[in-house]
């Protein structure tokens, strides 16, 4: 009621008779339902509601113009929706996001005190709650939970504007991933010991030293070797040159103290937050009470490289296995940019596979350098989705070894021991690279999964001849093997054997076909989605089990039946089609449906990764757009068609 403050004598009567404290209910009710405002206590909420300004923007209104609009208000969408996009110098538009009811925009430019960093345009008639930037900043300062929410949820944008200058040196990249910021620890990105200078030394010597080392800061230590402060480029500029100080001035008079430190286990994002909130560019890293290095805003920015080629080269350049760990975590960033550029799921999974293969290649090469040349020929084989070149994020390990095991006992013993240690260590490193252990222990570290070629041939024959259904089910992923590293001829030899044998094993193939028919497409009679009824994933649809698996199974069975040596699902389908084992129509439908399901899963998982949850395969149909739902239903319809095709081929009856 600020407008009425001069209205002294009447205010009392007014308040006495007001039904509510003049906090507009429509604003209050909305804020109470909206993250993160629902975290606020009632009084804070009421204060905020009273500062609310309600505005209306007809459809297609450009609310913020990138680099032009002075952002004076935080905008919370009450009704309607906006699209957020970037326009580069060439006028090329990159769509960033759609925001709808309960979502916001304009927070970042306010925090950064810059002009709008992106274009915001309404896609429908839109009502927004506006809060003046002062009110918004006040809120951030008084409510840490709210602050945290905003900073975390917009880290990507945070990085973009805060480090705009740095971005300009990396023009080629259009996306910055926020993901890595949340996983990489500051301790891990710092290279080398901290550079120091004595407190009693001169500013000139400090400047000379910084120039020689090409660095922007030095830690300052006292006579006892204790770190007491830091001196940076900026100090040289602002405190020495600009003030006209003598170059012989002692460092201790101009250094910043105490040094701002961060624990080496803190993630880069927290370091970034700390630097931004204190408006500094350097942080000393503390490990067990000792300062072990300095991290700069630039170091963190460099983490953001997302070009696949860049990553590929980086992997190749690594000299230490441990350095591969961090690079491997960058794979999702590459995927993100590929998705944004419109790549199809098949290309994306192939790209992930290439990068994973590259990591594996580098890892095993370094391992061999470390352990010495292997005593015998070997081939590291990959199975499951790795074998099919269909990896997404966080694919479990599925691997094994084909060895040439010498006859002579001493050499035989030596070989077996070498590969036992080799496998154990490689599996461990792969876990650190972000490939979790296989829950079914299908890994080269399993003693049963290191065999010579003859042993493997026997194993496959056993599976195919064995009529035990459980055995058949468990063995399917082995049939998708391919060479990962080492002597590929060993794997080729095994495949050749399989291609010759499998088509004759009718009982085995019929078993496989029956399993494929066991999966019912998740469509009820009325063509609604059938979702999980209970448990953690209630009301969700398992995209992998009920969507992708039937396609993979179908392609595998058909490939085995027709002696096709390809392992990739789309590759198998193509060869099957070329050899006229499946019709043009079925081929087209299957490929389209499978690609759509893969794409959906990838985007879904990427989204989860960016939200910081481990990716899974469950989606909620309610989260999909109408078009996506429709396409998804059509994709599930195709499963029925491949099943009836299997029925015919294997003379199975409807189960």
């Amino acid at each position: 009621m600020a407008a009425r403050a001069d209205n002294g004598p009447h205010i009392q009567t007014m308040q006495k008779n007001s039904v509510h404290d003049i906090s507009p209910e429509i604003v209050l009710d909305f804020l109470q339902k909206t993250l993160p405002f629902n975290e606020l206590d009632n009084d804070a909420l009421k204060r905020l509601a009273r500062q609310c300004i309600i505005d209306f923007y007809p459809k297609n209104t450009l609310i913020f113009k990138q680099d032009v609009t002075e952002v004076t208000h935080f905008h919370l969408i009450q009704k309607g929706g906006v699209k957020i996009y970037l326009k580069d110098e060439q006028g090329q538009v990159t769509l960033k996001d759609f925001r709808g009811e309960g979502e916001y925009f304009g927070a970042l430019p306010i925090i950064q005190n810059t002009t709008a960093n992106l274009n915001v345009e309404t896609v429908e008639d839109t009502f927004c709650f506006l809060f003046h930037k002062e009110a918004f900043m006040e809120l951030l300062q008084s409510a840490p939970k709210v602050t945290n929410y905003f900073l975390r949820s917009m880290s990507e944008k945070l990085v973009r504007t805060a480090y705009k200058e740095l971005r300009q040196h990396r023009v080629s990249m259009r996306t910055e991933g926020s993901l890595y910021l949340f996983s990489a620890q500051v301790g891990a990105i710092v290279k080398g010991e901290p550079q120091t200078i004595d407190a009693e030394d001169t500013v000139q010597n400090a400047a000379i030293r910084m120039a020689q080392l090409h660095i922007g800061s030095l830690l300052v230590k006292d006579a006892g070797g204790e770190i007491v402060g830091i001196v940076t480029d900026k100090d040289m500029r602002n405190k020495v040159v600009a003030q006209g100080l003598d170059y012989q001035t002692k460092i201790k008079w101009i250094m910043a103290k105490p040094v701002q430190t961060i624990d080496s286990h803190a993630v880069c994002f927290d370091a970034l937050l700390m630097m931004m909130s204190r408006r500094i560019h350097h942080l000393a890293i503390k490990k067990q009470g000792r300062i072990t290095g300095v991290v700069t805003t630039h170091d963190i920015m460099v983490l953001q490289g997302t070009s696949p080629l860049y990553l590929f080269r980086e992997i190749l350049a690594q000299r230490r296995i441990e350095d591969l760990y961090q690079l491997s975590l960058k794979v999702p960033l590459v995927v993100r940019s590929l998705i944004e550029e419109g790549a199809k799921a098949n290309n994306i999974t192939r790209m992930i596979t290439i990068l994973s293969d590259q990591i594996l290649d580098r890892l095993l090469t370094l391992m061999i350098e470390k352990m010495g040349a292997p005593p015998a020929k070997f081939c590291w084989i990959l199975m499951g989705s790795e074998g099919r070149r269909e990896q997404t994020f966080r694919t479990d390990q599925d691997n094994a070894l084909i060895l040439e095991i010498p006859e002579e006992p001493a050499r035989r013993q030596n070989t077996l021991e070498y590969f036992k240690i080799f496998s154990d260590e490689v599996i461990e490193h792969l876990v650190h690279c972000g490939y979790p252990r296989c829950p079914g222990n299908i890994m080269a570290s399993n003693d049963d999964l290191r065999k010579n070629l003859r042993g493997w041939k026997l194993a496959f024959d056993q599976w195919m001849i064995s009529p035990d259904p459980q055995e058949v089910l468990n063995s399917t992923i082995f049939f998708d093997f391919r060479a990962g590293y080492g002597d590929a001829t060993l794997a080729q030899e095994l495949r050749k054997h399989l291609c010759a044998e499998a088509p004759r094993q009718e009982i085995f193939l019929t078993h496989l076909a029956k399993f494929c028919l066991n999966t019912r497409p998740p469509l009820s009679f009325f063509k609604n989605f059938i979702v999980e009824k209970n448990g953690e994933h209630k009301n969700r649809l398992n995209l992998k089990e009920s969507g992708l698996v039937p396609f993979v199974d179908f392609a595998r069975i058909m490939a085995l039946k027709h002696g096709i040596n390809e392992t990739n699902t789309l590759g198998r389908l193509q060869l099957l089609h070329e050899h006229r084992h499946i019709s043009q129509e079925l081929y087209n439908e299957t490929v389209e449906a499978y690609e759509f399901l893969m794409q959906l899963r990838l985007i879904h998982q990427l989204h989860m990764l960016e939200e910081g949850t481990p990716p899974h395969n469950y989606i909620n149909p309610a989260d999909l757009t109408d078009l996506e739902k429709k396409t998804l239903k059509e994709a599930f319809e195709v499963i029925r068609r491949i099943q009836s095709s299997l029925n015919q081929q294997f003379h199975l009856r409807e189960i």
Partner: protein, 240 residues
């Protein structure tokens, strides 16, 4: 002035006009209609009455400021009013969820009206079917203070009729004569945020939503000044 014949008691107040009204009259002695719409200040208000008849009385007034065509959700006004006929008040209980106690302890119109006028200041007034509200307010001010308030008024119901008509013209449809111009129905038809509570303040806010929605829609059709908006109304009346 003519009204004195009908309200002989009012003559006592006439000699010294209430300062709120003096200011009010000086503000609106002349008004420039040629300015862009966003440069005017508006107060959107709503009154609740004991009933719909001419003899019914105001039991509450709610209002909200609109500046730069944005609703200032914190700059609101709300007051109950003690009616002269308390029997009337009980009738309205069901309609407005106002308890008789709330009205018994409420100030009289004599106190509330100057405050409301102060709250409005030099703003233009906006309401849904505003002639009804203004009729009651000016009937009361005339009776109590011997004068009326002179704020120019805009009617969102009329604006909605004009808007609906221009939409028909665009789509070359036959006018749908069944369309309802009731506040809640219009809000629903236009897809405005839904209001669950209803009192004079909430209704004034809902009217404010409707107002900025319509004005901005008109602006995207080429309306710039206040005069343009008045003219749009004139044209429409001719067509009817």
């Amino acid at each position: 002035m003519e009204f004195r014949r009908f309200w002989p008691f009012a003559a006592r107040n006439k000699t010294e006009e209430h300062p709120a009204f003096q200011r009010n009259h000086s503000w609106f002695a002349s008004i420039d209609q040629g300015q862009p719409l966003e440069s005017y200040n508006f107060v959107v208000f709503d009154t609740e009455l004991t009933g719909l008849g001419r003899k019914d009385e105001i039991v509450s007034i709610g209002a909200v400021h609109v500046r730069d065509l944005k609703i200032l959700a914190g700059e609101t006004f709300h007051s109950f009013v003690r009616p002269h006929m308390i029997t009337n008040a009980t009738d309205s209980t069901l309609l407005h969820r106002i308890t008789p106690e709330q009205l018994e302890h409420a100030p009289a119109l004599k106190e509330v009206l100057p405050e409301f006028i102060e709250f409005c200041g030099p703003s233009l007034l906006v309401g849904h079917y505003i002639s009804l509200d203004m009729g009651h307010i000016n009937k009361a001010t005339r009776k109590i203070f011997g004068t009326t308030i002179k704020n120019p008024c805009l009617d969102t119901m009329r604006l909605a009729q004009i808007y609906t008509e221009t939409c028909w013209k665009q789509y070359q449809d036959q006018p749908n004569l069944q369309v309802s111009f009731n506040l809640a129905d219009l809000s629903n038809d236009y897809g405005l945020p839904a209001f669950t509570q209803h009192d004079a303040l909430q209704d004034s806010l809902q009217t404010a939503y409707l107002f900025i929605y319509l004005v901005k829609k008109f602006m995207s059709q080429g309306v710039v000044t206040l005069k343009d908006l008045f003219n749009a109304g004139q044209r429409w009346r001719k067509i009817i």
